[in-house]
Amino acid sequence: MLREDIIIDIFSGWRSFLRKCLFRVLRVGPIPSHIAVIMDGNRRFAKKKKIDDMTGYDAGALALLHLIIYCMELGVKYVTAYAFSIDNFRRNPEEVQKIMDLTMESVMLLTWISKLRLVRVHFAGNLQLLSADIQDAAKRLMESTAGYNNFVLTICICYTCSDEILHAIEESCKEKWDDGIGIMGYDEGNDCERLIKMVDIEKHMYMAIAPDPDILIRTGGEYRLSNFLVWQSSCCHLSSLRTVWPEFGVFHLVWVVLDFQQNYRYFAKKKLQL
């Protein structure tokens, strides 16, 4: 169980002071606007520490909390975390239920944090796959924080990029149909090739709320994106770290940001080209 006093402790003390000094040095260079993370390695962490998997997931949730606070202090405006993939439903139902219970607890904690630090919370994914109570809690949290724009936290839950693309295309089709364009498009004599444009698809993406990520971090030593933000990561610095997610700390973040700064000119040039 995560506690509010842990959060208060992160914000105070000599560690916080040292961290702020370190971030002040980092801020001499360009700071990424959006950091995305694939939080891999919770179960490996649990195995290493000889604890049960759910305690490993708890540790992972705490690591995410730390990341959010570090990013706020550093000046990063958007953080996106891959919490649960649609593919993960194929896991043991008991494990899935425990993850859903942790999700509900996290929603409650995020409700408290969002008021403390004016954080906008957004849930990206096919939320209809969640149980009704989690859906309602998530929707309430999104509505109550919609007016905050200091910092935006996106939790990708029941998400895959392929599902996101299909969903965006479906919404674009419905929009065009409702505008009456479908009737014109049905006539094969017309050039209906350009009815749906890329801009239509992008505005219906679950991730339309945030700009494309500048850095995408995957922990656990893996080199794939696992269907996460593949569309959005064209000009994104992909960073793979061997450390497992619950052990991700401030120095890992600093390392990744320094690496980003080393390649910043290259990515800035690519963004202009694309």
Binding site: R24, Q128, M198, Y223, S234, L274
Partner: protein
């Protein structure tokens, strides 16, 4: 009055000194990182040499059959180095890789030069590359002529930026035509209308289909897929190889070897005790 002027000047000076100190620290940190990266590069070059000369035993036998579809992303400047690309493809052919997809991100559609600008540098060099690579054929031709994909020669595919997001938009219009004709607009609109296989078919219809890739090697200054068609790299291992001009055989073998050792569970959990993490 003098005192407040003096304190303003003092404050300005201390702020400038503070900024100077911060900048110096930042440059020092980056200098240390550059030294670390340089040291790592030397270690990698040494390891590559050992791999190339066959001194590291574990790299001698590669289970390359596991690598069915390989992609190579080449940064724009590297894409002009056609001789290097041909050499790389010859290495891959020697290793036994059967299908290679080449990509560069220079193929953006533009109103000014749509026909030239949307092709990509590699697509424009396609004929030259195929001529200089013995026996290699186009993936598209292999499919059209029903040539078996486990043949002796390599099949090549050339993909550009226009095969990515722009192709998805075109495929969306193909799906929209299906949507318009199907009558599904009257049904419960909360249910899913399109499936992934329909999307794959639509992409094939617009000329941007293709199999999902196993491994993607990035030749450029940083690890980034540069807009490679998203539909094909959902679960692809993405490995950074450095600049094309510095490519070496040992690094290529190492990347392929590491891929053959990876086991994906595609989001599922296996409680098998023999599961290798």
């Amino acid at each position: 009055m003098d005192f407040s002027n003096e304190s303003r000047v003092l404050h300005r000076c201390s702020a400038q000194i503070g900024n100077l100190l911060l900048r110096s620290l930042w440059h020092l940190v980056h200098f240390i990182i550059s030294i670390c990266n340089f040291t790592l590069d030397i270690a990698n070059v040494l390891e590559s040499y050992l791999i190339s000369s066959g001194l590291l035993g574990r790299y001698k036998s590669l289970h390359v059959a596991k690598l069915r579809y390989l992609a190579i992303v080449i940064e724009s400047e590297g894409a002009y180095q056609t001789s290097k690309i041909i050499e790389l493809l010859q290495w891959l052919e020697a290793v036994g890789v059967k299908h290679v997809c080449l990509y560069d991100n220079d193929g953006r559609s533009s109103g000014f030069s749509l026909s030239l600008g949307s092709l990509g540098i590699l697509k424009k060099s396609k004929d030259f590359i195929l001529e200089n690579l013995d026996g290699a054929i186009l993936f598209q031709d292999a499919h059209e002529n029903n040539v078996l994909l486990d043949q002796q020669h390599m099949t090549l595919e050339f993909v550009s930026f226009s095969d990515g997001k722009e192709a998805v938009a075109k495929a969306a219009n193909v799906l929209f035509m299906k949507y318009s004709k199907s009558g599904v607009t009257d049904q419960n609109q909360k249910e899913k209308i399109f499936t992934e296989s329909q999307m794959s078919e639509a992409l094939k219809t617009v000329g941007s289909g293709g199999p999902e890739l196993d491994l993607l090697l990035v030749y450029g200054p940083a690890r980034c897929h540069l807009g490679f068609p998203a539909w094909r790299i959902k679960y692809t291992e993405i490995v950074h190889m450095g600049l094309l001009k510095s490519m070496n055989y040992g690094s290529l073998i190492k990347a392929i070897y590491k891929f053959t050792m990876v086991r994906q569970n595609y989001g599922k959990c296996s409680f098998d005790l023999h599961y290798k993490l």
